[in-house]
């Protein structure tokens, strides 16, 4: 296997770590893709999005949008707390009885209102995370969700959670697929090349 030669050394003067690595290992090499025999089946990834927390929903959206960008079919089964970020923006309190409404009163739904699983500090943590995100050019959960749905990631809401939380189909964003249950989750997870519970 031949390694393509580089016109310029593959290190940046601003990156001392890369320079140190290249001093030790020489120029980084890469392995090209094996020849396409035309028989390769489309790869599939299934993610279960269980949590409504920023530090879990974020990686779900990063991995699902990257999978779609890589030509990997990606389906996300959205269940339990994980459903709340997929409620439409203008819905503040949802549910049919006081217990269901209390849930969304305590945990504001919507993709812009995610809390951290640790160091939330009444919103101070997410605020700092948002500031750091902007400073380092990291895409927000909203931008990633828009990219993911535009590229064909399928989000499947869990019917049982919708019933228990009092969520109606029209409470959820339009891009969500048809609600389904555990048997659907099992079927797509066992058929996929990789499945993750995040």
């Amino acid at each position: 296997m031949t390694t393509p030669t580089l016109e310029t050394p593959f290190v940046t003067p601003l990156d001392p770590i890369a320079i140190a690595i290249s001093d030790v290992e020489g120029l980084p090499e890469w392995t090209p893709a094996p020849a396409d025999d035309g028989q390769t089946k489309t790869k599939e990834l299934v993610i279960v999005n269980w949590s409504g927390e920023l530090d879990r929903v974020w990686p779900v959206l990063i991995l699902s949008s990257t999978a779609a960008a890589s030509g990997v079919r990606c389906r996300v089964f959205v269940t339990f707390w994980g459903l709340l970020p997929f409620v439409k923006d203008h819905k503040r309190i949802v549910g049919e009885n006081w217990m269901q409404r209390m849930l969304t009163l305590m945990q504001r739904p919507g993709i812009d209102h995610l809390k951290l699983s640790k160091m939330n500090f009444l919103g101070m943590g997410p605020w700092m995370m948002g500031t750091l995100r902007k400073r380092y050019g990291v895409a927000s959960p909203r931008e990633l969700l828009e990219a993911a749905t535009a590229m064909g990631v399928e989000f499947i809401p869990c019917q049982m959670t919708m019933d228990m939380f009092g969520l109606k189909r029209e409470d959820l964003i339009d891009e969500m697929g048809e609600p389904a249950g555990a048997a659907t989750a099992i079927e797509i997870m066992t058929e996929a090349d990789a499945s993750l519970f995040i």
């Binding site: 310029t8 940046t12 003067p13 893709a33 790869k43 949008s65 990257t66 960008a69 895409a139």
Partner: protein
């Protein structure tokens, strides 16, 4: 050798995974065999464009770095 670039993606200042996401979207708008040039500043994109090229089958024709800007040229499968 001068390469005939069909389209360019400016992903400078963007962090993972947006350089890849924007590249994948731009790749759809060019025809098979055409070249796409990507500029990025995310050091992680070096490994990521290699991996992306292997996963998708789009060929990574050229890669270089100038200052803090990485340049990748990819050929659509």
């Amino acid at each position: 050798m001068t390469l005939l670039i069909t389209q360019q993606v400016d992903a400078r200042g963007l962090s993972c995974p947006m350089p890849i996401v924007k590249t994948a979207q731009a790749m759809k708008s060019i025809s098979s065999g055409s070249l796409l040039e990507v500029l990025a500043t995310d050091p992680g994109s070096v490994k990521d464009f290699e991996a992306w090229s292997r996963t998708t089958g789009n060929e990574l024709v050229e890669r270089s770095v100038e200052g803090a800007v990485y340049r990748f040229v990819l050929r659509r499968k």
